[in-house]
């Protein structure tokens, strides 16, 4: 039951992000810095944050419990568990992106997909190992702004 809920949240969030990405294409035609553009970026950051927060929670299942899990399974098995989790989540992320691209915009936009996946990977790498010292919102803000900036410069 919990898994179905998680998948539902994932899909709803992804749809929301894409709704704003879709709107962004229109907004990006505006040459100058407008209020609409600011609102779009703000909302986009918020959704990215919520979306990532959900996934980050999944990772901390292992990171928080690290000592207890290693005591039981050993270091090698612990890393296997984490790797399985990382690959599994990235796999789901990639596939859900592909499907939703197709459903929402009727075509697969690889540039969006690659940027989203990269964004997600960067976050996993820069995340601190202890939950209480994490600054997800700040990291989200920074990475979102950087990826969007790069996207505007190199892709559009």
């Amino acid at each position: 039951m919990k898994k179905y809920k998680e998948i539902l949240i994932l899909i709803v969030m992804q749809i929301s992000v894409y709704q704003f990405v879709g709107n962004a294409e229109i907004l990006l035609n505006i040459k100058y810095f407008t209020m609409d553009r600011v609102i779009y970026i703000m909302i986009s950051i918020l959704f990215n944050y919520l979306y990532l927060y959900y996934f980050i929670e999944q990772y901390y299942t292992y990171i928080l419990n690290r000592n207890h899990v290693i005591t039981r399974c050993g270091m090698k098995e612990y890393y296997k568990l984490v790797l399985k989790k990382v690959l599994g989540t990235i796999g789901i992320f990639f596939i859900s992106n592909l499907i939703l691209d197709y459903i929402i915009v009727k075509k697969v936009i690889f540039s969006y997909l690659i940027i989203n996946t990269l964004y997600f990977l960067i976050l996993i790498i820069v995340l601190p190992k202890k939950r209480e010292y994490s600054f997800e919102l700040s990291i989200s803000l920074l990475v979102t702004l950087i990826t969007k900036y790069l996207y505007y410069i190199f892709v559009l």
């Binding site: 928080l64 419990n65 000592n67 207890h68 005591t71 399974c73």
Partner: protein, 205 residues
């Protein structure tokens, strides 16, 4: 049961200990002590495979199952006690709900409490940590400052538990500053001058 051979641990330029050799046998109750920062928790982490020693090796018998309370125990904060204990139990076995429930009752904890673990006090978290260290019938149990945050009643329960574990033939190692005279230890291990010394009597550090 477990043997440490020529273990040394160094963090950058800080040498904690070197040439550590000792053996832990079945059914022993051991007290480990030393100054703050002398490496008691680090030694536990080395035994549990969480940290690697700089040199040396640890040989352990195949049937050794370790349970440990080390430092501030980490749990999945936004989940309940039941979720956390079930998750850990199921890593290497099948969750025995009745057994865990009775352990929780012993420490006046409600296994089915819907509250998230993040809302629990230090003492209550410590109780959960103690329970997870013994719930799977572990035969080598390491406690690092186990009475941290516990109230008087819970400390009594803890002492009874240790005596029961000893009767059952389990090996228990307790690292603490203040529990040196409360239990009938087989021997004390003192970390002093980068060495770990075994002694029958407790001596002030």
């Amino acid at each position: 049961m477990l043997e440490l051979k020529n273990i040394s641990k160094k963090f950058k330029n800080n040498l904690l200990y070197e040439d550590v050799n000792f053996e832990i046998r079945d059914g022993e109750l051991i007290h480990l002590f030393g100054k703050n920062g002398s490496g008691k928790s680090t030694l536990f982490m080395i035994i549990c495979d969480i940290l690697e020693p700089t040199t040396g090796e640890i040989s352990r018998e195949e049937n050794v199952k370790i349970g440990a309370v080390i430092g501030n125990s980490g749990f999945i904060e936004n989940e309940t006690i039941l979720y956390n204990l079930k998750y850990l139990y199921n890593l290497k076995g099948t969750f025995d709900e009745e057994k865990v429930k009775s352990l929780c009752e012993m420490f006046s904890l409600d296994l089915y409490n819907k509250k998230k673990l993040s809302t629990y006090s230090v003492g209550m978290r410590q109780k959960v940590a103690i329970i997870q260290a013994i719930m799977e019938d572990q035969n080598l149990i390491l406690f690092d400052e186990p009475t941290r945050g516990l109230d008087v009643d819970a400390i009594d329960v803890f002492f009874k538990l240790i005596k029961k574990l000893k009767k059952e033939g389990k090996t228990v190692v307790i690292a603490s500053h203040d529990l040196y005279d409360k239990l009938d230890y087989d021997y004390h291990l003192l970390i002093k001058n980068e060495r770990i010394v075994k002694s029958k009597k407790y001596e002030k550090v």
